[in-house]
């Protein structure tokens, strides 16, 4: 899917034509530089590698600097491959917001969700806990309950919902409407919420 790399700015709201107050997210995205075009002859598949953001020179390895030389020499922070661009692109081309998206269309947004750390089953899986909070109960309020049967099968099944790391994972939100595009400021306003903290990198896909 063709798309662009962006940065989450934050959430606000706007009125629709019907007078509804819609929650929306502002994303700063584009211009993205085409850093490499992968072809079937060379790489075995077709894709376009895009770069976005700025990177300090002292944090860039020599091999990456060589890679950036082929597309104009700007040091870019994020490199992501996309497939299915209709345009004929070559390394060094710049993709702007309006080249890829229009107002009113639906997009998917990929981001990294906010990390919640090690969480129990109540927060992580929506369990209700065991028993009462009062009447002498003292340590079962947020417990998972039984995790399986007895001597048959004599083990805990794989995939059992238990406590563990929550958040800080790749999350895709599908079918978000592009409400508004500010081409001059490279800003796009998308309906609803998207994963991740403010300032985090997100991918917007057609």
């Amino acid at each position: 899917m063709p798309g662009l790399i962006g940065k989450k700015i934050g959430m606000t709201s706007m009125y629709s034509a019907e007078g509804k107050n819609l929650p929306c997210t502002v994303i700063s995205t584009g211009p993205c530089v085409v850093t490499q075009v992968k072809t079937i002859e060379n790489d075995g598949y077709e894709a376009v590698q895009l770069g976005y953001g700025e990177k300090k020179e002292k944090r860039t390895t020599k091999s990456l600097k060589g890679h950036f030389q082929k597309s104009g020499g700007n040091l870019l922070r994020t490199l992501v491959e996309f497939k299915g661009f209709s345009q004929d692109l070559k390394a060094g081309d710049v993709l702007n917001l309006t080249d890829v998206f229009q107002e009113g269309q639906f997009v998917d947004v990929v981001g990294t969700s906010k990390g919640k750390g090690f969480q129990g089953v109540v927060k992580r899986h929506g369990f209700a806990g065991v028993g009462q909070a009062t009447h002498g109960q003292h340590n079962r309020l947020r417990a998972p309950g039984s995790i399986g049967a007895a001597s048959d099968p004599a083990r805990v099944f794989k995939g059992m919902k238990m406590g563990g790391q929550m958040g800080n994972e790749r999350v895709t939100v599908q079918n978000l409407k592009v409400l508004k595009i500010f081409a001059d400021e490279n800003l796009v306003v998308i309906s609803g919420a998207i994963p991740g903290a403010k300032g985090s990198t997100v991918l917007i896909q057609n």
Binding site: I9, G10, Y15, G19, C24, E185, L187, V189
Partner: protein, 120 residues
């Protein structure tokens, strides 16, 4: 954060409603949808507060209807607001005149601002 504030400002469509503040007497014309029909309802009263900014900016209008105080909160930038007419500019010292709720009759009067020129 600043980018967000600027974008939020742009998302609010400019309306040509007059400036008003707490203490003013206004008539708010509000569009109401009943099924497929749309009609305009008017609500006259005293503005007792304005709060929020951008799409979240609202104002509260209070009136006495049949001896009972009625307050209504309107979103300022909603497209459902057809018109706001200021009939009286009140002289009050506070931005939020909640003390009006405890007052009735003579004590609930608000002095009019002297140099108020009604907009045509």
């Amino acid at each position: 954060m600043d980018i967000l504030r600027e974008v939020s400002k742009k998302l609010v469509e400019a309306n040509d409603l007059p400036e008003f503040s707490a203490g003013d007497t206004v008539i708010v014309s509000y569009k109401i949808k009943e099924g497929s029909k749309e009609r305009i309802q008017q609500f006259q009263g005293i503005v007792i507060q304005k709060r929020g900014s951008g799409t979240n900016e609202t104002f509260t209008v209070r009136k006495i209807s049949g001896g009972i105080g009625v307050e209504r909160i309107f979103p300022l930038n909603s497209p459902f607001i057809d018109d706001i007419k200021i009939t009286k500019k009140g002289r009050v010292r506070r931005a939020r005149i909640f003390y009006q709720r405890e007052r009735t009759g003579k004590s609930a009067r608000i002095k009019e601002k002297k140099r108020f020129i009604k907009k045509a």
